[in-house]
């Protein structure tokens, strides 16, 4: 029962094939059996999950869209009374007094919380190796990284430890681990899902979205968590469409663009070959394929890290050892409390981000770095808008490279940043992207395809992704554990 999609699990629950408590217990058992190896979970909320399941069984009502579906949240999404650590020593013992708005929406939808999953510290990283609690491991080969920062969420779905998870994506953190672990990952448009209660990294980029076993499931979950929130002034009143209407199995009338810069230098051949094979499938489904160009792509990495680290440096100034989080016991004066608490509480990548951001925002460098990058960002948004005049969606790899070995890049921050070269442009433009399983390398490692569309066009992503999924079997492949 633990390998089913949301849709199939719900049918089984409604037909009384098993109870919600039996289902939840099966997932808890699976976590117990596999997580010593995979390290996907930071906290398992067994008691909460079984209590929520019992309530659903007693009510016997499976009419809500996620009724009785066991899931987990990346450990940067606040949960009232349940530890939320951001995988940092700084928040190792932090228990929020309120829920993130998106978690309240999931609870209203009937979902069951199995636990909180692993991430790079404060979501800064592309491999999950920057977690204070140790890296998660890729279930396809446990010597390899699961991707990041939403490594725990991706592993938990790939290894059938949960039906779905909610990750966050600031520069690729949902799509890249989804690609590395062969699950579906949606980065919604900026402002489509409320950020309230999600521990911030870079506020003008941060998004939260579903990581699932099928495209249809991603559409179901987005339906529940999307929409304007009075708790987040950057959410918009753009109506949330009925996403199920986009789940057709044919692409006639759709134009898909292949941005040539996303297939160029630095993209491994096995990756681009797999995506081109997927393009052939979509052509057979009726799509028109056109080549397009996004010449500013090569500037995405510096533009992204200047802006994201600048925002991070201000966001993370709240951790001072006074209001909450880690406090040093080695200080006499106030400033010493700040300096020592922060130095003890943050890991190296977070320190690098804070220092780079502080530098880019400081007097004398602000114009050359922060302001320059904010202008390049405006140009990149414009470039995407022009491309979407010519096509409905773009098709590209998610990651230019296959999953890499644990430790391979952990001492080379610049090499790690470059991994995000094909995912950060989507965050810079505030548009939406979906990662779907599209192949396996000769060495048996997953390859993901990225479908990208304009702001608030998630429906088009679901249409293309669902049609591709129905015509292929990559999403059915499972790692041997």
């Amino acid at each position: 029962m633990i390998d089913l999609s949301i849709k199939k699990t719900q049918i089984a629950l409604r037909d009384k094939k098993f109870t919600c408590t039996e289902l939840t217990q099966s997932y808890l058992d699976r976590i117990k059996q596999t997580d010593e190896t995979l390290n996907a979970f930071i906290t398992v909320t067994e008691e909460v999950a079984l209590r929520q399941a019992k309530k659903i069984d007693e009510a016997g009502d499976f009419s809500s869209p996620l009724s009785g579906i066991p899931m987990n949240l990346k450990d940067v999404i606040c949960t009232d009374g349940i530890k939320t650590t951001a995988a940092s020593k700084m928040l190792e013992n932090f228990t929020p007094p309120y829920n993130a708005h998106l978690y309240d929406r999931l609870l209203d939808g009937g979902a069951i919380l199995l636990g909180k999953t692993n991430t790079d510290e404060f979501t800064m990283g592309s491999s999950c190796e920057n977690s204070y609690f140790g890296s998660s491991r890729n279930p396809w080969n446990t010597d390899y990284v699961p991707g990041g920062s939403s490594g725990g969420p991706a592993v938990s779905v790939a290894a059938d430890q949960s039906v779905f998870s909610i990750g966050t994506d600031t520069g690729g953190s949902i799509r890249q681990p989804a690609s590395f672990c062969s699950v579906v990952g949606l980065k919604p448009t900026y402002g489509r899902v409320p950020r309230h209660g999600c521990i911030p990294y870079a506020s003008s980029f941060d998004t939260s979205g579903p990581m699932t076993k099928t495209v249809e499931d991603a559409a179901l979950v987005l339906q529940v968590i999307a929409g304007q929130s009075m708790k987040d002034a950057t959410t918009v009143d753009t109506p949330v469409p009925d996403y199920s209407e986009f789940l057709k199995e044919d692409l006639t009338g759709m134009t898909l663009g292949l941005p040539k810069e996303y297939f160029g230098e630095g993209v491994e051949k096995e990756v681009s070959d797999a995506v081109m094979e997927a393009v052939d499938v979509m052509k057979k489904l009726g799509a028109t394929i056109v080549e397009v160009s996004l010449p500013l792509t090569k500037y995405a990495i510096p533009t992204y890290y200047i802006l994201a680290k600048s925002e991070a440096s201000t966001n993370l100034s709240r951790y001072d050892g006074i209001k909450y989080g880690h406090a040093t016991d080695q200080a006499k004066e106030l400033e010493e409390i700040y300096m020592k608490s922060r130095s003890e509480g943050f890991g190296d990548e977070v320190k690098r981000a804070i220092m780079l951001g502080t530098y880019a925002l400081s007097a004398g460098y602000y114009d050359a770095f922060y302001l320059k990058a904010a202008k390049v960002r405006a140009l990149m948004k414009q470039e995407f808008e022009e491309v979407f005049q010519k096509c409905d969606a773009l098709i590209a790899p998610v990651s230019p490279i296959l999953p890499f070995k644990i430790g391979e890049k952990s001492n080379d921050p610049m090499a790690m940043y470059m991994v995000d070269v094909l995912s950060t442009p989507i965050n810079l433009a505030g548009i939406c992207g979906l990662s779907v399983p599209a192949g396996l390398s000769a060495s048996g490692l997953p390859i993901g395809m990225q479908i990208v569309s304009n702001q608030f066009e998630e429906g088009k992503l679901f249409q293309v992704g669902h049609a591709f999924e129905k015509a292929t079997e990559w999403h059915l492949k499972k790692p041997q554990l």
């Binding site: 932090f94 918009v236 209001k323 004066e333 130095s343 320059k372 990058a373």
Partner: protein, 104 residues
């Protein structure tokens, strides 16, 4: 600023790393400063490629979906969060306030 002075300015030294760390309220040992210096230098050098992009007459962007000034009715709501929030503090609480160490 012209590109020459920019080159000079963005050549980082260990003293710069320590100054930035201090601005960011991070303690920085000699050892750490030595470790971070080449990493930050490499990242800053890479960012210089942005100079190639012509951004004259371009307005910088920070709000990507184009919304501004979201307003809502200014109504007082009772939250009763004060004691819960104070309980989060790792410092001593006295009379509903967080007691901190000396400033000097």
């Amino acid at each position: 600023m012209d590109s020459n002075s920019n080159d000079n300015q963005s050549k980082l030294t260990k003293a710069d790393v320590k100054r930035i760390a201090h601005l960011a309220k991070l303690e920085m040992s000699e050892e750490d400063a030595e470790k971070f210096l080449p990493q930050l230098q490499q990242i800053v050098d890479n960012a210089k490629m942005l100079e190639e992009v012509d951004t004259s007459n371009i307005e910088p962007i920070a709000q990507i979906t184009g919304i501004d000034n979201m307003v809502y009715a200014d109504q007082i709501e009772t939250q009763n969060l004060a004691s819960l929030l104070l309980a989060q503090s790792p410092q001593t609480i006295e009379k509903g306030m967080i007691k901190v160490n000396n400033i000097l």
